[in-house]
């Protein structure tokens, strides 16, 4: 177990190192002229050079990279061009807001999707399975901005039940639903599709396995077969899917936070990208990657803990 964890951690760091290089290349090398990319075509040459110098982009590449990465590791992420505040404090504020929104969506949708996925598998080929499968497939297909607009039209504009623009909720649970339900619906739709599918597939596979046959031929009651023998094995792969999808949730946050004007990290990424606020953009994207790696790592560890085959071998 310890060995496994060390190895996994090491790999995660190697990957993150690669991520930082990719990110640096994209943000600093691809534009060719960073100052020009930020200031746009109408700035004078002098202004551009001044900015280049101020940013340090006239220095050698390797030096810039190490300065940037060193700064990031120490928590010194520079400061925003536009907001004139330290990037770290903006990014963490926004991250916190996004975690609330994402956590809310996950909390509601993970149990629901697993439940429906298992239900579909147990009724394989019958109408509940058909309905759940087709629903899942369609919900995956809808881009977040489409579903987002739909719920906005219906619940905020037409019915006026919920606000069209969401704020970070207070500690009041009613406020959670009031503020977070609408922006989390598009996220939940996509998540539902993936998680329920995985739960369904895992359960079907488990139902077909030899060990479930053994359990049935032992004469065990159906409920015991399902709870003890099927679900225990079938939900393991779902953990991995949840972690990967949670990582991709951030992509959906870009859209939904923009749509609902919610001050989260997705909106921050988009705003800083559109406004060429490079320090913010670089740092937040790297932060997203770190978050993603942490999540998959966590899921791997959880998977290992729950799976005796891996746990005892590691």
């Amino acid at each position: 177990m310890g060995r496994f964890l060390v190895k996994r951690l090491f790999l995660a760091f190697v990957t993150l190192f690669c991520v930082s290089i990719v990110l640096f290349l994209v943000a600093q090398v691809m534009p060719g002229d960073v100052g020009r990319a930020i200031l746009g075509p109408y700035a004078t040459e002098v202004q551009v050079r001044a900015l280049d110098h101020q940013l340090g982009v006239d220095r050698p590449l390797l030096e810039r990279y190490s300065t940037w990465l060193g700064g990031f590791v120490r928590g010194d992420w520079g400061s925003s061009f536009l907001l004139h505040r330290p990037v770290a404090s903006i990014a963490f504020d926004r991250l916190y807001n996004s975690l609330i929104l994402g956590g809310f969506a996950l909390l509601l949708i993970v149990p629901t999707s697993i439940g429906f996925g298992v239900l579909a598998a147990l009724n394989y080929g019958k109408w509940p399975d058909r309905v759940i499968s087709v629903a899942g497939l369609s919900l995956i297909a809808l881009p977040e901005f489409v579903t987002g607009i739909m719920v906005l039209v219906i619940f905020a504009v037409e019915l006026g039940w919920l606000p069209a623009s969401s704020h970070v909720p207070s500690f009041n649970p009613i406020d959670w639903f009031r503020q977070l339900l609408l922006p989390s619906i598009p996220l939940m739709f996509v998540l539902f599709g993936y998680i329920s599918r995985m739960a369904r597939t895992g359960t079907i596979e488990s139902l077909r396995s030899n060990y479930v046959r053994t359990a049935i031929l032992k004469g065990l009651p159906r409920s015991t077969v399902i709870w003890q023998h099927v679900l225990r094995n079938s939900l393991l792969p779902t953990i991995t899917v949840i972690s990967v999808q949670t990582g991709y949730l951030v992509g959906g946050l870009v859209v939904t936070e923009t749509l609902f004007n919610y001050p989260g990290i997705g909106k921050l990424v988009l705003d800083s990208a559109v406004q060429h606020d490079l320090p913010v953009l670089q740092a937040t994207v790297l932060l997203v990657a770190v978050l993603y790696m942490a999540l998959t790592l966590f899921a791997d560890v959880l998977y290992t803990l729950l799976n005796p085959r891996v746990r005892l071998a590691a």
């Binding site: 060990y211 046959r213 053994t214 049935i216 031929l217 032992k218 065990l220 003890q228 225990r232 071998a313």
Partner: protein
């Protein structure tokens, strides 16, 4: 001549009575009959064997008995009765109380049959909780006791283990513990030892024999292995294409078969006196009719040597003759007179050219590094003359395949030398040279993956001919492909098929033709027939023998089947945990003095043609190759263990000066005396107490 009888057995009295059972599968819009009018009864406490080749419907019978048929299966008629319960009419609730309670099943591949995320103890205890009404603690205690019964030591600790921590043999024991927990009336065993190594198989079979004396269960024993069924069962039924074509006491049915198919089955397996240079195997011509094919008359008629017009028109009824013998053959009296096929023996190719074709010296292969290092081959030396067949035997994990892969250059050895046709091969690149490729080829084990599924047989052979033969023009290549196909008895239309439309036997022929495309001097055969049915195996072995004599090629023939190796090989090498422990001429290896491990392997061999001999039971399981035992590697399981010396010192080679050598501390004279004595000792109940052997 006996009278036809509508139903083979007397009315239901037995533990299990199957009467006129017919089952079909619905596939798309077609109804495919799998079982037709199958009837047999099993008496209380009796073991009944069901044999037949793959596709004959054995497993369907087992699943029908357990009422666990696939959803698209339909019982067309007949009854299955367990004592007085009609299983074909039982409802879900009734089934639940019967399954695991009055009838239980053990099947192939225990590794996947146990739930990977529950402990052994919990899985066994479940049976007691649901059928015995015990609470959790009592059920666990009962499970522990049951583990002792199936001879799993240290049961208290084993209860907390997960299935993947157990060896294959132990997993199968756990399955038996679960099945016997409620002392059922009927135990269905579906190929319970298939996939296990020979010595482990012998242990599991011994366990079954021992459990039979303890539990009163009737047994339905399903196997493709006639030897095992003969050993384990009182009566045997033979299934062919979904019909029970012969039934009778197991000792008689294979010695005096009364159905041509049963006779065919016994004749295509080499027996202990058969040798490739004196006897030819007798394969059954043709092949199993495809599922769902409507047959008029006897199903076996198209392949039968004594079929007449009547056989093609009328379905033969069950003829009862003598003591409980049943045969569905009009001419069952003539079966004993069917001659062996007259096919000429290949002319023996004369003495070998002399001189070693292949010399492997001190070869080693290690995987991994540091503490995880596995030594797959350790100081392996073998030699092979031109035109000779060297049989290589050993259980899984012994390093047989690794050795073969190192020899052909699919793996790079970690140390040692390989000399082939007078030139040393060191780096993998040495094997890439076309003139070498031509001379050194390989035939693989699995007919399903040995050919590229997206290429036709013609494309496969054309590619081989182009790369291996000296044929230049494409007309030459084409001619050679035709010649190759003819040499392995492939019909021209087979060439344009992709592998998925070829039977296992045909696929293996294409693979053999591919290996022979460039007039090889040495062909490595890695279990080329282990995935095939016996009748197909016989054709392939005949083919290999023909090619060897005709082309003067040498084989390194890997197999776990000692019977096949004995039939085929001039010399035999035995491997254990990455080492060669014995090598010599076949007859020397097969007779004392030989290595105790070879002795154990031989005694574990199930056969139909000899009376039950005393069997050697090896203790413990195969050690972890990453951490092999010190001294003699076999000492942890050896029944002739001497003491400290075996544990501490590597045994010396005992050589007889004529090329037979083995690694053992025991002096040859002592070993021979002990082994002769053991062979002449009669068996008690099929096995002897452990203490006697260990002493």
């Amino acid at each position: 001549m006996s009278a036809p009888h509508p139903s083979a057995s007397p009315p239901a009295t037995g533990a299990l009575a199957i009467d006129h059972l017919s089952i079909s599968y619905l596939r798309r819009d077609r109804v495919l009959p799998v079982l037709t009018d199958v009837s047999f009864h099993i008496e209380p406490g009796e073991a009944y064997g069901l044999v037949g080749e793959s596709g004959c419907g054995k497993t369907t019978v087992a699943m029908a008995v357990m009422c666990y048929l696939p959803t698209n299966a339909r019982i067309e008629g007949g009854h299955i009765r367990l004592r007085d319960t009609d299983l074909t009419r039982a409802g879900e609730a009734q089934l639940r109380s019967l399954r695991g309670n009055r009838m239980a099943m053990v099947y192939q591949d225990a590794g996947s049959a146990l739930n990977p995320s529950l402990t052994i103890g919990r899985q066994i205890a479940e049976v007691y909780r649901f059928h015995g009404g015990l609470d959790t603690t009592a059920a666990m205690d009962a499970a522990a006791a049951m583990l002792e019964t199936v001879q799993i030591a240290d049961s208290a600790r084993m209860l907390r283990r997960y299935p993947h921590e157990l060896s294959g043999g132990q997993q199968q024991r756990v399955m038996f513990a679960m099945a016997l927990a409620t002392s059922p009336d009927l135990l269905v065993l579906d190929e319970p030892t298939t996939g296990l190594d020979t010595t482990v198989e012998a242990e599991v079979l011994d366990l079954v024999a021992r459990l039979r004396s303890k539990f009163s269960a009737s047994i339905l024993f399903i196997s493709h292995n006639l030897g095992i069924v003969t050993r384990m069962c009182e009566r045997v039924g033979v299934l062919y294409a979904g019909r029970l074509i012969e039934e009778g006491p197991s000792r008689e049915i294979f010695s005096t078969p009364r159905h041509p198919y049963t006779l065919g089955l016994t004749r295509c397996v080499p027996n202990r006196i058969m040798r490739k240079d004196a006897h030819r195997l007798d394969p059954i011509p043709g092949s199993l009719p495809p599922l769902g094919l409507a047959v008029q008359g006897c199903v076996y008629a198209p392949r039968c040597p004594i079929a007449r017009a009547r056989c093609r028109e009328e379905d033969p009824p069950a003829f009862v003759s003598g003591e409980r013998r049943v045969s569905r053959c009009f001419y069952h009296d003539e079966v004993s007179g069917i001659p062996r096929s007259e096919e000429a023996l290949p002319a023996i190719g004369g003495e070998s050219a002399g001189g070693d074709l292949l010399r492997v010296e001190h070869l080693s292969k290690r995987y991994g590094a540091g503490t995880n290092q596995v030594v797959a081959l350790d100081d392996v030396s073998i030699e092979l003359e031109a035109g000779e067949i060297l049989g290589l035997v050993g259980e899984s994990g012994s390093g047989k395949s690794t050795l073969a892969k190192c020899v052909v250059g699919l793996l790079e050895a970690s140390g040692g030398e390989i000399d082939f046709a007078g030139r040393p091969l060191v780096r993998l690149g040495d094997w890439r040279k076309p003139e070498l490729r031509r001379k050194l080829q390989m035939v693989f084990q699995n007919p399903d993956t040995t050919l590229n599924p997206s290429h036709t047989a013609r494309r496969i052979l054309t590619r081989a001919a182009r790369l291996l033969s000296t044929a230049g023009s494409s007309a030459d290549v084409e001619r050679q492909v035709t010649a190759l196909a003819a040499a392995v008895q492939l019909r021209p239309h087979h060439l344009d098929l992709k592998p998925s439309f070829l039977s296992g036997g045909l696929k293996q022929r294409v693979a053999i033709a591919r290996a022979f495309a460039g007039a090889p001097a040495l062909v490595l055969c890695d279990e080329p027939t282990s995935a095939l049915d016996v009748s197909v195996q016989a054709t392939i072995l005949n083919l290999l023998v023909d090619l060897q004599t005709k082309e003067r090629v040498a084989y390194l023939f890997i197999s776990h089947d000692l019977g096949v190796v004995r039939y085929l090989a001039d010399r035999i090498a035995v491997m254990y945990l990455g080492q060669i422990i014995e090598i010599g001429r076949a007859e020397d290896v097969f007779s004392p003095p030989h290595h105790p491990y070879t002795e154990a392997l031989l005694s574990a061999m199930p056969t139909i043609d000899e009376s039950e001999g005393a069997r050697i039971k090896l203790s413990g399981t195969m050690p972890n190759p990453a951490n092999p035992p010190t001294g003699c590697r076999f000492h942890t399981r050896c029944h002739r263990f001497l003491g400290e010396i075996c544990r501490e010192r590597e045994p010396p080679w005992q050589e007889d000066g004529e090329g037979h050598r083995y690694r053992c501390h025991i002096a040859p004279a002592d070993l021979e005396a002990a082994q002769q004595e053991a062979m002449s000792r009669p068996a008690k109940d099929g096995n002897r107490p452990e203490a006697e052997i260990r002493a």
